[in-house]
Subunit: 332 residues, 2 copies
């Protein structure tokens, strides 16, 4: 394999000169630079980046821990990460962790073993062991999207509580007072925040909370489908359902229709995320749009700041309520 020594020999200079000609062209004479570049070309030389990284103790790789890549919201976040990382010369080691903590810990240890410089964690879990990074040490990590309450690192998130409140208020403003909610995974801060927003809206409108209207879910269409079944079967059926993800909303709509009910005439449905399919669902989905790609881009920018030893503030990104045809005035 052609290495820097071969090139040096070919150009009739020392390895140091070759290295300099490539890395800081301005400190070698034009003549020498010319010679070196010709030799590089002739030998088809490409620096062995493993050696470069080894020497500099920087890999320019970022680990991204994704709960599930099959969710189109995360797909967008990843697109943003990828794009920003590439612009800044970083590679992305993507890890589909399926929420498995052992796996997340294992991938995070790529940082301890110097295979990556930092971690972007898209789930509320600290994958670093206390041992590897004791309290007080600066973690080379950014926690985005679903963030820990006491995250040991900078975070990027949405004001989920306010967003959920806005979605619920939208339903209330359409005259709904019996509003079901299909939640996310039990332990997620996301679930808790969005439920609080939902309750905030109810309280503000003097609607009592009915626990029966709160259904569990896990962000998949299947769980939306199942919980909709429960809600429909209630003696006092809700006239609207707020889902914590579009995927669940689509599943819910599917079940509602199967029951012979119409959306939005019989039941209004609102989602969260604004995935691509939201516009193509029947009816098109009212939802909270998140700047998914921005989550990715910002997380990368922040992580690089951290890696370079600078201070970084937490970030809250804006959301928008997108009103489509799946929600309508309540007709009792």
């Amino acid at each position: 394999m052609t290495n820097i020594r071969k090139v040096a020999e070919l150009a009739g200079v020392s390895v140091a000169t070759v290295s300099r000609a490539l890395k800081s062209p301005d400190i070698v004479s034009p003549t020498t630079r010319e010679k070196v570049l010709k030799a590089v070309d002739q030998a088809g030389y490409k620096p062995n980046l493993m050696a470069v990284q080894f020497r500099s103790q920087r890999t320019y790789n970022l680990v991204v821990l994704v709960p599930t890549i099959a969710n189109t919201f995360f797909a967008r976040v990843i697109s943003g990460i990828q794009e920003a990382a590439q612009e800044r010369g970083y590679g992305v080691l993507l890890c589909n962790t399926l929420g498995n903590e052992a796996m997340e810990t294992q991938y995070a240890s790529l940082v301890s073993t110097r295979q990556a410089d930092g971690v972007i964690q898209l789930r509320a879990f600290n994958p670093f062991s206390e041992k590897a990074f004791p309290d007080g040490a600066v973690l080379p990590m950014i926690n985005a999207c679903e963030v820990l309450d006491d995250a040991p690192c900078p975070t990027v998130k949405l004001d989920n509580r306010a967003a959920a409140r806005e979605a619920t208020e939208h339903l209330i403003s359409l005259g709904h007072r019996r509003i079901g909610m299909i939640k996310g995974p039990r332990r997620s801060p996301l679930t808790r925040d969005r439920q609080q927003g939902y309750q905030d809206a109810l309280s503000a409108a003097d609607i009592a909370l009915d626990e029966c209207l709160l259904c569990p879910g896990d962000f998949t269409p299947r769980s939306g489908y199942q919980s909709a079944e429960t809600l429909i079967a209630l003696a006092e059926r809700p006239t609207a359902i707020f889902c914590e993800s579009d995927e669940m909303a689509i599943g819910a709509i599917s079940r509602i229709k199967e029951a012979g009910l119409r959306v939005p005439e019989d039941i209004s449905v609102a989602g969260f995320d604004d995935i691509a399919f939201a516009s193509y669902s029947d009816p098109p989905l009212t939802t909270i749009a998140q700047p998914a790609e921005a989550f990715g881009r910002e997380a990368v920018a922040m992580l690089i700041e951290v890696l370079e030893g600078r201070q970084v503030d937490n970030l809250v990104l804006p959301y928008t309520l997108v009103s489509r045809a799946s929600t309508a005035t309540c007709r009792p």
Copy 2:
């Protein structure tokens, strides 16, 4: 940072002994091994994998070139890749290339610069320059899903022609004779093969090909939506549409309904891929199911074979026609 020398000092042995105690425990005496392991634990030592890789000239990273991560079919393929790679101790460098050849070439060069051992390419394009890997050299690559006709490496694919033929025959068997088709990107071998399958089925049933019924698309819901518009507007409207992807089928259904037509009563729609949403669309989508995760798993297995210098045969994976409610008997 704790390195092997610190551990050696702590254990009162040489670095070679530490290395051996960790890599081949059987060739050091139990007493020494014990001492070393204790020192390792005490120092919180983790080998610097960059150094290990640098020494062994193997990175145990695989580059995966994905046309678009936002497509749920690819998301499943990637899950398969990830899973298989992890089992075998490989990391995955994921690259969302958006079909940009320059970007694919750039990422493939991670292999030339020794940042990765091999490439899994999910698109019909050879990202390796002739210069880096001259003709005849064994490319450390597997081409999966959408494969080049004259791929310079082993491939894993579906018999797209047969699958498309089966889908079309399904429509014909329901009495349809005027069948539209929404195609994939123009230059893709996938598009060509599936169109051939479509034509095979028509010929076998003595149905003349009508060019007006062939519409362009790019696998996104939006393109399905637009092409459906064209098909609906035809003087002699088709009674069925075969889409080369579920995402386009979902877009098409959305447009058909907007026009006040019903699926499948007025127009039957069949898709391709069997993505998760296919079951939750209204009506649930008849489609060709691909073993997406298997594509990923097999590609990894094959690539590792190649990397280890063994011969590998091309692979063709099986498909299944999944008949749901979006296709029905033609009622003229």
